[in-house]
Symmetry: C2
Subunit: 168 residues, 2 copies
């Protein structure tokens, strides 16, 4: 988290990774999605050294991904809950889930997404919200947005003509 | 990459993070998507210490994410190209891109996806491939797949009734 400084870099991926470019951070967020809230529960589930857990939780709170809320007075005890910014990480975790299922689960997918009402398995894919078209192939490309610096614009101009490579 | 060992854990996210749970690894993959192939080009673009870059490239090749190919004889020089397993990481990078654009780009998105033919901006969303329905809310949940261990099944049974929280 503090090991490298990417936040000055004009790239949204680098800026994201500065906050969550650490396995423990993302595993804490994963378990927060599954409803864990308390220090002891994260520690037990993750088998993480307590000092590392304390540091990661502090960093996730500082980044606005988790909120620290008192759940008990005398003595005050705190729990950690995902903020909206935290729940916005759902697609990242879903991407990691799909990749792990595909490449590191020789006995078949470990965790899948299902429709609650029918139990049917669901295959998540990324599409254009407006048209529903799958995002892949040369019809899609990366372009500079309003926040792009001159250097980013030049980089994308030089490199951005490459087809958007989406796997499936 | 070697710092923690999550691969024995019966979780696809943990197994993914063991290979790419490192900022530099994902930034190398990002730039490989943009067509960088050579050691010097990664080094220049990333400002990464050469020993770190060499180690990360070795690990990414060992993980089957990059392939190391000779591009010159006498002396032999190598370049690094994404494998299919590497391009399968596209949705993860897209998720990080969206999150960074949303939360760390005060002047507006830095890099966006556009339709090549019209230049129109595209908003990527995750849907069920079969129905096109957005994956969010209580209609979707995580369930054990064929590769789930007994412990994973128990964990999901205990926790899996939670609604699938997808942000937008």
């Amino acid at each position: 988290m503090r090991r490298t400084s990417h936040s000055r870099v004009n790239c949204p991926i680098a800026r994201s990774l500065e906050r969550i470019g650490d396995s423990w951070a993302l595993l804490i967020v994963r378990d927060a999605f599954f409803g864990l809230r308390r220090f002891e529960d994260f520690q037990e589930r993750l088998g993480i050294p307590p000092t590392t857990l304390a540091r990661r939780l502090r960093e996730l709170v500082a980044a606005g991904i988790l909120e620290r809320l008192p759940y008990q007075e005398r003595p005050v005890r705190y729990e950690y809950v995902l903020t909206r910014k935290g729940t916005d990480l759902h697609p990242v975790l879903l991407g990691l889930l799909a990749w792990g299922n595909r490449h590191y689960a020789p006995a078949g997918p470990i965790v899948e997404v299902a429709r609650t009402s029918t139990g049917e398995r669901v295959r998540p894919v990324t599409v254009d919200a407006a048209t529903g078209e799958r995002l892949r192939g040369p019809e899609f490309r990366f372009v500079p947005g309003p926040g792009a610096s001159g250097a980013t614009k030049a980089w994308l101009e030089e490199r951005g003509e490459r087809p958007f490579q989406s796997p499936r």
